[in-house]
Point group: C2
């Protein structure tokens, strides 16, 4: 293995790192398209090789041949809990505490409703939900909606000002553990402890942390959590999301999306709602079977890392990749106006790196995509690159930096074809 | 074609009906399992032949190769509206008025919230939601949840008592157009007219009518509607559902599940929610792409009927099938205690037939399934059979009656193996 500082790496150094990477075989689990360096697994994870066959089995055998009997015979009815138990292993939750259901947005509505109801019961004078100003919009919109309905205030602040706001004893602190823009990682344990000291409940969105780094919900004594199935969990576009409530809260409240699958006995078809025990009551409608089956394949790609050091090993690799990228861009792409937005301190960094460019962010990302390097753009000015340790190699980092260097040196990003905005950015 | 009364049909008569059925070619669209007579399309529609290949394309090409670029290049972002526009053609809605999203339960929460907010604004003294006592439980649970949150009362009544309850001028009338137990069809136009005369808004669940019979939301001047993707629309297990709001209501309210996909400009990532125009604001989280693509294949099987007379022709066939089943059971299975629950009057009948049997309902359904005739059981006593006109033949009806006759005459349903309850019934 090379010991050269990342600033002075050559491509051969990167190749040597890959050759000695014990996690390298995990990449074979994925159907990566030829000629693409994919640095957007933080937006949509890559297709696992196992998924296509599994989805085909669900469609043609379980649905096509088994039809309605597959609810029992193929175990469809158990999917939300079975896949949930697997995700629980990635986020420090215990079996039976976490289910796969709906979207992150819908699950946020459930847990925020529950947390607010508990806060209302325990501390009715508290009227504030605190969150980060640059939290992912859907989190803010759902919180805003509930704040409006319950006559509360949603107070937004910069990350560094959050602890001070706890002094005002808000009802709720709602954060995404890794910020989708900056890639900054919050200290879940410290913030939860500070929140609890202020009598404040915590709701964590794990969209950019579940599957990307070790998460320990129980260790942090977190109150509620939700997360996304289609980013680091590789569940496919629009995969079902997940929801967790600490056992001390799970049965304290009937969350308002009281659909039949959250009923204690859905097939008794009783007219009165009686919530299922524990996290089961956070289910709502009929689960997306194909989606949950695909998600299970994605989660399995992470569980395959358990024998290789698990998320701790993946985390170490992810940080090595993002550090190499930062160093490479700063060494080889200097003088073009890129400003590092992601914390340089590894302890504060998730699994992505963002640079700001006031003028050219969008076009530079488009020019990179045309060269086969897929990152994404986040308005108004961010170039965002995700380093999913399951399938990203050191050589991919080296090559991505090289392509970015060429985009900048040629100035090709100024061409009109790269300025044209698409519907989804 | 035979003109024999259904009570006196022979199997040859049924075969003759099928031979002269102009809708018969539609059955070729489906991958029906050999040796099964499937009378449960009202619970889970059959797999269309086109679906497996389309799902595989989404998984391996659009996701696997296109990755994140498929949101634009494969049109994923337009799926909820594109499939919604196709469903609109089946339910008397107009392009741009209906979207595919979430589950029926979640969509019910959205439209009930909206309808209650409008009622609160226009008639704040109204405190009652009226529904049918035997409405599908998820509808009642969601309504109960909102009633609890808004200090309203949910009043349940038998179908025939609903018009009288409108005299009390409730805020809302929420009904499933075809009752999931009895198969009774409500007169949407008449009930909506009566509701409006009382100043009451209507919310219709089309779970057992969309795709089963002609629905005319605009003709009925309905206020809100939701529906299910996996029954008569053949979208697959847990397929996304749909939601419609009359244009006069669509923009009057910000429904509370204010996720980012319902924002006017989701990719501006602004911290403040600004709802999309029209029905777009009824989207919430990231849509299930695989689920929506499969649903589109299912909806296409119904649109294929448009050149053959469309839903009017399908409705005529469905009624012929259910009438033949009722007549056949009453003629050939008499004396075994089966009581017809479904209205004999075709104008009051959806696309299913239910019989009650106090003692043996569950076991009889199991014995039939063992013989390859798949209906289902609804606690406590209903044997339920759906007659999906797209793929059910007259000869299937004849054979199903024959199998039921043998189950009853042999008494085999009393065997212990048919009494064992499964998780899903």
């Amino acid at each position: 293995m090379t010991t050269a500082h990342p600033l002075r790496w050559t491509r051969a150094d990167a190749e040597a790192r890959d050759a000695s990477d014990p996690l390298a075989p995990l990449r074979d689990q994925f159907a990566l398209p030829d000629g693409t360096i994919y640095l957007d697994g933080n937006s949509l994870g890559v297709l696992p090789r196992a998924t296509a066959a599994r989805v085909q089995q669900v469609v043609t055998e379980e649905w096509g041949r088994g039809l309605i009997t597959s609810w029992n015979r193929a175990g469809w009815i158990e999917l939300p809990g079975r896949v949930g138990d697997k995700i629980a292993r990635l986020v420090g939750a215990r079996p039976g505490e976490l289910v796969v259901a709906d979207s992150t947005s819908v699950n946020l509505f459930k847990v925020l409703s529950a947390a607010l109801a508990i806060a209302r019961a325990d501390a009715p004078q508290r009227r504030v939900i605190v969150s980060e100003r640059s939290n992912f919009p859907t989190d803010l919109y759902i919180a805003e909606s509930l704040a409006r309905a319950h006559d509360l205030r949603l107070v937004l602040a910069e990350a560094e000002d959050l602890p001070a706001l706890l002094a005002d004893r808000p009802a709720l602190l709602m954060l995404t553990q890794v910020n989708y823009r900056s890639g900054r990682l919050h200290d879940m344990a410290a913030l939860t402890q500070a929140a609890h000291a202020a009598g404040t409940l915590t709701v964590w969105d794990l969209a950019h942390s579940a599957g990307a780094l070790p998460v320990d919900l129980h260790g942090a004594q977190a109150d509620f959590a939700v997360g996304c199935g289609y980013k680091y969990l590789n569940g496919g576009p629009g995969a079902p999301a997940f929801v967790w409530a600490h056992p001390r809260h799970a049965e304290r409240f009937w969350q308002p999306l009281a659909g039949w699958m959250g009923h204690a006995a859905p097939f008794e078809f009783t007219p009165d709602y009686r919530p299922a025990p524990g996290i089961g009551r956070y289910l709502c409608g009929t689960p997306s079977v194909i989606g949950a089956a695909a998600l299970e394949c994605g989660v399995d790609t992470l569980l395959a890392a358990e024998r290789l050091g698990g998320l701790a090993a993946l985390r170490a690799k992810s940080l090595a990749l993002s550090e190499a990228f930062i160093a490479g861009v700063e060494a080889r792409c200097a003088g073009h106006g890129l400003q590092l937005v992601t914390p340089r301190d590894a302890a504060l960094r998730g699994s992505q790196v963002s640079f700001a460019h006031a003028e050219g962010g969008y076009a530079m990302v488009q020019a990179l995509i045309a060269r086969g390097v897929v990152g994404d753009f986040r308005a108004p000015d961010l170039l965002r690159f995700g380093f999913t340790p399951l399938y990203t190699r050191h050589v991919d980092v080296w090559d991505a930096v090289e392509q970015l260097r060429q985009v900048l040196e040629t100035g090709e990003w100024r061409e009109a074809r790269f300025q044209q905005r698409a519907a989804v950015t």
